[in-house]
């Protein structure tokens, strides 16, 4: 049976939840690639009616393969001991984050286009606002991340604050597909 659009939006939301949260007990029990499988299949379904997720769908498929090693490689870098992790791991983790950011950008744009096509301008503006916030926060995280190797422990409170803001941006992102699911009859 074909998945409904509402179901596809919900699946997209749950995929983002899995990507956003890491529960690590020796290995990641909610591996990111599972999240990207859900995202890719949801985007594939949503793209059938309105082809606004073409690039996002392929980016999600790519992320399925790229994040498989993440299940066993712990890419959570200790805030106070940046250099305890090899440079290769840093570059891997940051490349993943960069591609994820591109994927998120395309998902935001697809959602904004759906809202626009449905004449839901306030919803479109909300999506654009959250997209810009997400891009600024995660763009800044990517740019300022290498500074971790040159700061002392006194900066730890700034890093914790940054983590909280990043989490907030992530939560605002994942709320959107669920909101679209609720309003799917009007979209």
């Amino acid at each position: 049976m074909m998945m409904s659009r509402e179901g596809a939006f919900r699946r997209l939301g749950w995929g983002i939840v899995i990507v956003l949260f890491d529960i690590r007990m020796v290995i990641d029990v909610l591996p990111d690639f599972i999240g990207y499988i859900l995202i890719a299949s949801a985007l594939h379904r949503l793209n059938e009616k309105q082809p606004v997720f073409g690039k996002a769908k392929w980016a999600a498929f790519l992320m399925i393969f790229l994040t498989m090693p993440d299940m066993v490689i712990n890419t959570n870098i200790p805030l106070n001991d940046f250099m305890s992790v090899s440079l290769v791991t840093h570059i891997y983790a940051q490349s993943i984050l960069l591609i994820h950011l591109v994927l998120a950008f395309w998902i935001f744009n697809g959602l904004a286009e759906i809202a626009q096509l449905a004449g839901q301008d306030p919803l479109r503006e909300l999506v654009i606002f959250r997209r810009d916030f997400y891009m600024i926060v995660y763009g800044a995280v990517l740019v300022f991340y290498p500074f971790l190797m040159n700061i002392n422990d006194g900066w730890i409170s700034v890093l914790i604050l940054t983590s909280i803001i990043s989490l907030l941006a992530g939560l605002l992102f994942l709320r959107l597909p669920f909101r679209f699911a609720k309003a799917s009859d009007e979209l």
């Binding site: 001991d81 250099m83 305890s84 940051q94 960069l98 591109v102 891009m135 763009g139 990517l142 740019v143 300022f144 991340y145 290498p146 500074f147 190797m149 040159n150 700061i151 002392n152 422990d153």
Partner: protein
């Protein structure tokens, strides 16, 4: 900004951040652990500890695993981190000797200038550690210590009481040639260079010693450890010579900025 420039601009900023930070990180790394110069006088009868200070990189290079001093082969050094900086850790090596060791130690004064350092990578090496004088002076009974204080601003004072009448014949500071520009010492309010010797004291008289270290942050001496002794040579009324020693230590504090300058200069004195 047009969307077309968004991703290239972000990529340029990320690449620039990585290149800049990696270059800076590299410039802040010590080639190998760096021992400070110590100008210390230790009285073997009164002290049972010798403390060495050194810096090593927090990550990714050779670490000190043990230290040995040839002149004091029985002294075992315990290594521990004392202060953490962005790129380095200030480490302390404290070597202790016990009462049993004192009995067997040769009581001739020695000056230690080098320590043999063992590294996690590479061969052990002798490194200069300044001048550590180990002396053997029996504690005199002339002075009783009333009180003492020292502050992080480099000042300190002691109040002492004379247990018998005596004349102060001579005053000396150990490592005087090294500390002379940075240390002023007053005895009972007068600079030690301005005292007219001998100075007579009656039994029960008090004697105060106050000192001030004034080492500028940018001076090479700011990276040196000073634990010197003020030596007071007394002669009692019955003609006995008594030596009393008062420790005058400098609380070395090295800021992040000072350390960065020090490391970038190659660990050489500025």
């Amino acid at each position: 900004m047009k969307r077309i420039f968004l991703w290239p601009a972000l990529l340029v900023m990320i690449a620039g951040s990585w290149i800049g930070n990696l270059w800076y990180y590299d410039s802040t790394q010590l080639e190998e652990p760096l021992f400070l110069k110590h100008y210390i006088t230790v009285n073997g009868y009164q002290s049972d500890m010798l403390e060495l200070v050194y810096f090593e990189n927090r990550r990714g290079s050779s670490k000190v695993t043990s230290i040995r001093i040839e002149e004091l082969p029985w002294v075992q050094f315990n290594l521990y981190p004392d202060n953490s900086y962005a790129h380095q850790t200030m480490m302390k090596a404290s070597g202790v000797w016990g009462a049993d060791d004192i009995e067997t130690m040769d009581k001739t004064p020695i000056t230690i200038r080098e320590a043999t350092v063992y590294f996690s990578e590479g061969e052990p090496r002798k490194v200069p550690i300044g001048e550590i004088a180990v002396e053997w002076q029996e504690k005199g009974e002339m002075l009783s210590h009333n009180w003492g204080s020292s502050s992080s601003d480099g000042t300190g004072s002691s109040s002492l009481l004379l247990n018998e009448a005596a004349s102060l014949e001579k005053i000396e500071l150990t490592h005087y040639d090294k500390i002379e520009p940075w240390l002023t010492v007053n005895i009972s309010g007068r600079p030690i260079g301005h005292l007219n010797m001998p100075v007579r004291f009656l039994k029960g008289n008090s004697l105060s010693v106050d000192y001030k270290w004034s080492i500028p942050d940018h001076a090479p001496a700011a990276f040196e450890i000073y634990q010197v002794k003020l030596r007071l040579y007394f002669k009692t009324e019955d003609g006995r010579s008594v030596l009393e020693e008062i420790p005058i230590n400098h609380n070395t504090y090295i800021s992040e900025k000072q350390l960065r300058r020090f490391v970038r200069s190659g660990g050489e004195h500025l």
